[in-house]
Amino acid sequence: MRASSARRNTLYGILFALPWIIGFLAFTAYPILASLYYSLTEFVGIGTPKWIGSGNYYNLFHDELFWTSLYNTVYYVGLAVPIGFVVGLGLALLLNMDLKEVGIYRTLVYIPYVLPAVVVGFIWLWMLNPYYGLLNLFLNTVFHIQGPGWFSDPKWAKPAFVMLAQWGAGGSAVIFLAAIKDVPRELLESAEIDGAGWWTKFSKIIIPMISPVILYHLITALFGGFQIFTTAYIATNGGPANSTLFYVLYLYRNAFQYSKMGYASAMAWILFIIVLILTLIIFKTSARWVFYRGGGE
């Protein structure tokens, strides 16, 4: 009886999971292996891939644009992730204030996060127009400085994307806010009675209590950052002078504009390995700074 019910459960378990399992095999497992294989071939997308061993990887390491795109992306991630963390957490702390109308601020700050990336790209292309853009007008009238060319200046184009990314900080702020709201009140109150200031409360209680969410945020931000594509495709398409040729943009061009599927697959695998290593490092160090409350789920 028990054995047959266990078998029955296994059968139903698999049956209910079947669509996902099929999808996983077809749209995840197979593509991962296939892209590894393609990365070792010369392949235009039709016909048979021609085995060239490590040729693509060798060529990539000698491809100046590959290094440019990697540099641009690391530059972007290196700024956008830490700044995004501070902005998101800062917003969350502000939105956690005991104000009657705080829900309105939360809504307003979150809205940009739900907008299509294409629209975001266009809005900022317009906002950052060197001549008619609102930001340079603001800089000129308030601070009397001539704003830079932003997307048309190789020096300022990458920082412009970092800034643009902060417009979506409401997304992470809402997640941080949910975590902060969940910090037990008694903990903060008893710390207050013991004479703890706001910095002590923040660094010794709030940060450790929300550290699992911080871990989640860092990993998703890292992944998102490395895969920046749409806003760059719209606002600069890699320019000026390849200063915003981000990794996935160059990968996309290789795959779908130059039909170098093998080459692009090699790029994809290098990206895969980079983000996996970074994730692993974050996870490894997280044992030291992430604090899990007891009680499981």
Binding site: Y12, G13, I14, L15, L18, P19, W20, I21, G23, F24, F27, T28, P31, I32, A34, Y38, G45, I46, L94, L95, M97, Y105, T107, L108, V109, Y110, I111, P112, V114, L115, A117, V119, F122, I123, W126, Y132, L134, L137, V174, I175, A178, A179, M209, S211, V213, Y216, F223, Q227, T230, Y233, M261, A264, S265, A268, L271, F272, L276, T279, Y292, E297
Partner: protein, 277 residues
């Protein structure tokens, strides 16, 4: 103490108002640009509110590109995705949370691990498979995978929800002779309706806003989605800013409405995911 508290509140309020304005200005700028004519766009200092507002820009914008066609295309893809996710995500979430079988923890690990795979890694082989099937320039590559996945985050969310439902409920139904699928469809799904709505809205935002997917699969202009179509207001060295911003405003409105209806549930569901630790 109270005075300090009072000033802090005033200060915080001021900062929040300022931040809200900063976050809203680009959206306001999109809108106000959409009702200007070209001469009002290219002036310095800029015009904050055109007089009179050029509302007919909206009519021009929807006639400048096949706007109706693209809206329909986008709706087909979006509805298809929502249907797909609502089909596949609750099924697998049910399997790993309500059915006691050996493989369920491993399966859950696999589901979570899919978030660690960058899209470009799977994009090329999947594209090649779909092109061999002759599915390029159809909506199939943008819809069908949803029926065989559901998204790790959605599944995670659903699993957390399923686990809050008492086991006795299923047991009682089993004793009454209900089949596993009967329990799922007649008892469980109605119970998790709120989260199904949240997931639908997430999926809506994801497909409505998607750019890279349609960019790869839809090369025929008649098949474009709104996100792709917005590019057509721009030529090599010229952008129809007022029309582009008018079209953008129209494209954005559904996302803001969708967000408005979900904002509270989003916060609640995030708390429920146990992400809080």
């Amino acid at each position: 103490m109270t005075l300090r508290h009072f000033t802090l509140k005033i200060l915080g309020r001021l900062v929040l108002i300022l931040i809200s304005i900063v976050f809203l200005v680009p959206i306001f700028w999109m809108f106000t640009t959409s009702i200007k004519d070209l001469s009002e766009v290219m002036t310095y200092p800029p015009v904050w509110w055109p007089n009179p507002p050029k509302w007919h820009n909206y009519i021009k914008a929807v006639n400048y590109i096949p706007f109706g066609r693209y809206t329909l295309n986008t709706i087909i893809i979006t509805v298809g995705n929502i249907a797909g996710v609502l089909f596949s995500a609750p099924l697998v979430a049910y399997s790993i949370s309500r059915i006691k079988w050996k493989g369920r923890n491993i399966l859950f690990m696999f589901i979570l691990s899919t978030v660690l795979i960058p899209f470009p890694v799977i994009m090329i082989p999947v594209f090649i498979v779909f092109s061999r099937l002759g599915w390029i320039n159809t909506f199939r590559p943008l819809i069908i995978p949803a029926f065989f996945g559901g998204g790790a985050f959605n599944i995670f969310l659903l699993r957390q929800f399923f686990m809050t439902i008492p086991e006795e409920l299923s047991d009682a139904a089993r004793i009454d002779g209900a089949s596993e699928f009967g329990i799922y469809s007649r008892i469980m799904l109605p119970l998790i309706k709120p989260i199904l709505i949240v997931i639908s809205l997430f999926t809506f935002l994801g497909s409505w806003n998607d750019f890279m997917g349609p960019l790869i699969y839809l090369q025929n202009e008649a098949k474009y989605t709104l996100a792709l179509g917005l590019q057509m207001y721009r030529s090599t060295n010229y952008v129809e800013w007022p029309l582009l911003m008018a079209a953008s405003t129209i494209v954005v409105i559904p996302t803001i409405i969708a967000f408005y209806f979900t904002q509270n549930t989003i916060v609640e569901s995030i708390t429920l995911t146990g992400l809080k630790g």
